[in-house]
Assembly symmetry: C2
Homo-oligomer: 462 residues x 2
């Protein structure tokens, strides 16, 4: 059955809606009331209104078709509620309640499965945060917004097996203004699993890039086939890499984490980018949400510090990217700039291009123009050590002004002054990283999205 | 010759001191005037005073013994100045000027060497930032403090082959309030090299931990013998790992980066911790500057999110640390806490300890107390997902209150609310990291400092 009404419901019922602050059913009502554009039907046995919205004693009392019911009631009540929803003709359910398989109550999950099958329904969860759809304001996350921000709209979909970690990541993405199309926390996946979500998101027009955090998939073959046919770049963080980690995963999700080597091979075969950890995942997500996809993996580095250029080169080579060979024209242009006195005679005019410690904004601009015009260059890493007294806020204009027909990322290690300026560079749409290795992670992720990379295919530009 | 007067001069001369803003000799004068506790003698041919301090036309005109001369004049003038310093009896020189070997002028370096040898002097540089000694205010770094902050006093010495990268790191350390004893940028090392600096710092009472960034050492055997006899934990970041990176290093420092495998083995043999990149170096430095050294490498993880516990476990195992086996008493204590209702019945009481999503500050406190009392536990990683509505600022008090006889680091991924609270946790002396992998890097670095680790030996606690 299609998940379209699950992600784009015209109306939702909140079963277990509450006026009592601190209750899950109150937090969800608040989130929905704040932004959700559809109709909201709170369901509560005793109250007449919830947050001033008329309430219904039961789902069957609502005299309209309900696209989606969100269930926030104690686990033991859920099977009956699922049955009631079925009778009321509701086809899509999100069960946020915990206390099921992860707490040893597989019996309750079986009961729910039975009722669902009888009524032909879709169910997300239980033990999950549900869905955030940034374009409609559908938001079933029970963490209050003052604790956990919601990210802006964008074209990345983020799927997380872990609700708590998913929420932390959303919060981090929000602070960095990384835009999302959808967030999905799917919990114990007694019905909708990773493969269903990838299939759905592959057809979602608002999604161009899919990130998934997992400890293990429910059905390996099903998931990897969905990943293969997805047609959009995907990145996975899979934990439970070690025996001890996998064992910890089993105890908290009641699911097997699976052998890491098998996953590793399968990710590769399906063209899924594997991020080693969540910092790397974050760095790539930021690049994808700010920058276009390059045509290839030839990288130019421009730096005012030789050491940082060396570090970036190491990381780049180790990740299988290539140092772009600058064209004859570019080399000629840079030499002319030296003759004109724009670029220092001490500069290294080969890639990595070191325009040395006394580089000015003008010198950066001239060098960046040459490199961005070079057909041999697919992406550019600009290292800027703002500790140098010859640099200042004019670098923001320089980066804003150069034609960015290719991905550009900035690496600017530093403290207070640096961060004051880099905030403005990010406002201008160029992602900034604290270390050379992280800047390289960013272009690596972008390069893995390009059609010629042999990895992920891409249907349209972000 | 001892470097003591180089690092602790009673007075300094600044040759090339200037009243003109933007000049290197002006920036150094400003830095010294601001904090340096000794006598300052500006040397300038034309001016009567520099920053209102009486100036001398030449070093030979100063009618007092000068411990250290800082030379900030064009490269071609330096050999003669070195000679003059020799005649004036100055035994320690820092040459910050560039334009020597790195610019193809090895002849100037040879000239300087000749003069130095004649007068029996120590020379740091050329092409360097020189020295920052946080305890005396000696500060020869020409980057203005509004561009590059100076870190607080502490017990870490940081040596950097790259001046620009060293400055960026100082700036980053300052923002994170990582305390340093000394910073040394040694540039082209025509006299004082890495081995000399390690030897000196091994005897420096204010230094307990040595970090070095390098692309390659001058004399391999000399350096690694100094590292072996050093007696204090050392951490190195060595770039130029790849052929391409090494080649870039050669072009910017005019020195060979050397084979990475040889370095890798030598670091291991000498007991030097090798950080893979500067983020890892930063993470370890922060841990070392905030926390004590553990007795061993058995780690306990306490978390309110299972996924984060899995990620920390993976990283920990992959780094060769061990998951502590909780003692019978701890397990009993935690079980009692469940019976008393302090810890949820859904919690996982084995390491990694998952006190689940609705954990309160009280639950953290009880769990942390049990774990910190456990003799089988050497360090504790506390994962706190502050997105949960059951947590709040009281976590700061909890972390402040528990007895920290062992290293404790916090992992708190998140955004605005999280960072508001974690700033207070860091004020209380506990380092906070954004990802589980980084929290593990921190305890890994600390564990590598402990006497039983087979790695670095340690003379005293930080």
């Amino acid at each position: 059955m299609s998940l379209d009404r699950m992600f784009y419901p015209d109306d939702v019922a909140v079963i277990g809606a509450s006026n009592k602050k601190g209750k899950v059913g109150n937090a969800i009502m608040r989130s929905l009331k704040k932004k959700y554009s559809g109709e909201i039907y709170p369901v509560n046995l005793k109250e007449e209104t919830i947050l001033d919205i008329p309430a219904y004693p039961s789902i069957v009392d609502i005299d309209a078709p309900v696209d989606l019911a969100i269930i926030a009631l104690p686990a033991k009540m859920v099977p009956d509620i699922v049955d009631q929803c079925g009778s009321a003709g509701v086809k899509n359910l999100i069960v946020v309640s915990a206390g099921f398989g992860e707490a040893g109550r597989n019996d309750l999950e079986r009961e729910i499965k039975d009722k669902m099958d009888r009524h032909d329904m879709n169910l997300l969860g239980p033990n999950c945060l549900g869905i955030l759809n940034t374009s409609t304001g559908l938001d079933t996350i029970f963490n209050p917004p003052d604790r956990q921000d919601r990210p802006p709209s964008g074209s990345i979909a983020f799927i997380s097996q872990s609700g708590a970690f998913g929420a932390a990541t959303l919060d981090w993405f929000s602070e960095a203004e990384i835009g999302l199309s959808k967030f999905v926390s799917y919990g114990n996946r007694i019905d909708i699993d990773e493969a269903d979500l990838v299939d759905y998101l592959s057809t979602d027009e608002e999604t161009d890039f899919i990130i998934i955090y997992m400890e293990g998939v429910k059905y390996g073959r099903r998931f990897f086939e969905a990943a293969k046919r997805c047609g959009k770049p995907m990145m996975a963080v899979k934990s439970g890499r070690t025996e001890e980690g996998a064992s910890a995963a089993t105890s908290h999700t009641a699911s097997l984490a699976g052998r890491d080597k098998v996953y590793h091979g399968a990710f590769k075969q399906a063209g899924v980018i594997r991020a080693r950890d969540i910092r790397e995942m974050f760095n790539v997500a930021k690049a994808v949400s700010y920058q276009p996809v390059p045509r290839g993996d030839a990288i130019a580095i421009v730096t005012n510090g030789g050491g940082a250029g060396v570090m970036a080169t190491d990381e780049l080579v180790e990740r299988g990217l290539s140092l772009a060979s600058l064209s004859v024209e570019t080399k000629k242009d840079l030499k002319e700039a030296v003759e004109e006195g724009v670029i220092s005679e001490h500069a290294t005019l080969d890639n990595p291009i070191d325009i040395v410690g006394d580089a000015t904004p003008e010198r950066y601009e001239r060098t960046l123009k040459a490199v961005l015009d070079d057909e041999n260059v697919d992406s550019v890493i600009v290292v800027i050590l703002f500790q140098s007294p010859t640099l200042d806020e004019r670098m923001v204009d320089v980066l804003d002004r150069v034609e960015k027909n290719k991905p550009v990322v900035v690496v600017a290690p530093g403290g207070r002054y640096t961060h004051k300026i880099t905030a403005k560079i990010e406002d201008a749409g160029i992602p900034v990283y604290q270390t050379p290795a992280e800047g390289v992670q960013a272009v690596w992720g972008l390069s893995r999205c390009c059609p010629g990379s042999g990895g992920v295919r891409r249907t349209k530009d972000i």
